[in-house]
Amino acid sequence: MTDGLLLLGGGVAAGVFGSLLGLGGGILIVPLLTLAFGLPLIEAVGVSLVCVIMTSGAAAGVYLERRVANLRLGMTLELFTAIGALVGGLVAFLLPEHLLELIFAGLLAYVAVTMARPRETAPAGASAPAADGPDPATLEPVSTDDEPSSDRPFIETLSGPGYRVHRLGWGVVGSLGAGLASALLGIGGGLIKVPTMHVIMGVPLRVATATSNLMIGITASASAIIYLIRGGIDPYAAAPTAIGVFIGASFGSRAAHRIDLRILRGLFVVILLYTAWQMLQRAMA
């Protein structure tokens, strides 16, 4: 019983931290399950995928209801995140665990460095759309001269109020990479999707973050199905973690405006670096 409650509490903490800092839970859940509870990495990734689908599902419903997320763009890109995730889900069972741990340690260090820098874009954007993002309605349409003419009609159907979507090809490449990373590491993939949509494709940050959140469900479920059928998801470990993350994320999104995020961010950078070091040691062991 104690382990169950500890796992529930750990899930709550991961959910609170994740939603306060705009990260998906995966980056925290995988180290929690492997380093603190001794689960094999492949099982931790499977459980993490379940958690990110849970938390993104409820949030994505709200973003769609408020019409912040762009359903057409999200569906077009998630076709490719799903393909990347399908490949990643199959590859994950072939790669040695220490290699995955090494990649995860690199990811943790990267996120820590990104968070330590002054913020210009959402760091991961998997949980909540940034309330301070630019208003799509105030953005001017940008020139489309660099797009092949054959792409224009379809791209235009993906655009939204006040913004025009560009460079769909780069979006496809970024989505394939996000799907692959999601399946291998148990993350939502917002780290790749949000910058791709915002910086490369010209989608406002708020819309990119919400659309990325909407896409997590399909991205993660394409590989989570493989984990489920191949025995990579343990129901006893998944339940308390997923419930905890769900509760934590709900609480975090409500408390975000009352907490000084600068201090929290600094603390989190330290935790991430320490976790990266622990994961690196585990990979080298």
């Binding site: 169950g4 419903g61 235009e156």
Partner: protein, 128 residues
């Protein structure tokens, strides 16, 4: 100049479609969390720890486990709802876009479902 997508998104039928998908996502998430919570409650009652290796995934055992109030039945059903909710959202979008005669978006939705189906087939084949 207004992008074509903005005009489409202002369409009332598109708004209805997005709202129904939103309700489906929210409902699916809450249904899944309820099933997992019941399963976790039964785990605590039966003294099952989360680090104990759980039973393997087998769809045929779920109804029996549910009737016998065994935690595994509720947990597996909850996990199935978690994984099926995003695909249901794409299915709803496919129906919505097909009704509107939008062939390209219908094709995109159909291809996503095909990739998901491929995941099931490939994983099942590898396990078999």
């Amino acid at each position: 100049m207004t992008p074509a997508g903005a005009d489409r998104r202002a369409d009332p039928s598109e708004t209805r479609l997005e709202h129904s998908i939103a309700r489906l996502l929210t409902g699916g998430s809450y249904a899944a969390i309820a099933l997992l919570a019941v399963g976790f409650g039964l785990m605590l009652v039966n003294g099952i720890g989360p680090l104990t290796r759980g039973p393997g995934f087998d769809v045929t055992t779920i109804p029996g486990d549910l009737l016998a109030l065994r935690p595994a039945g509720f947990l597996w059903l909850g996990l199935i709802v978690v994984l099926a909710t995003p695909a249901s959202r794409v299915m709803a979008a496919l129906i919505g876009y097909a009704r509107r005669g939008e062939r390209r978006m219908s094709l995109v939705a159909a291809l996503i479902l095909l990739v998901i189906a491929l995941s099931v087939v490939v994983a099942t084949g590898l396990e078999g």
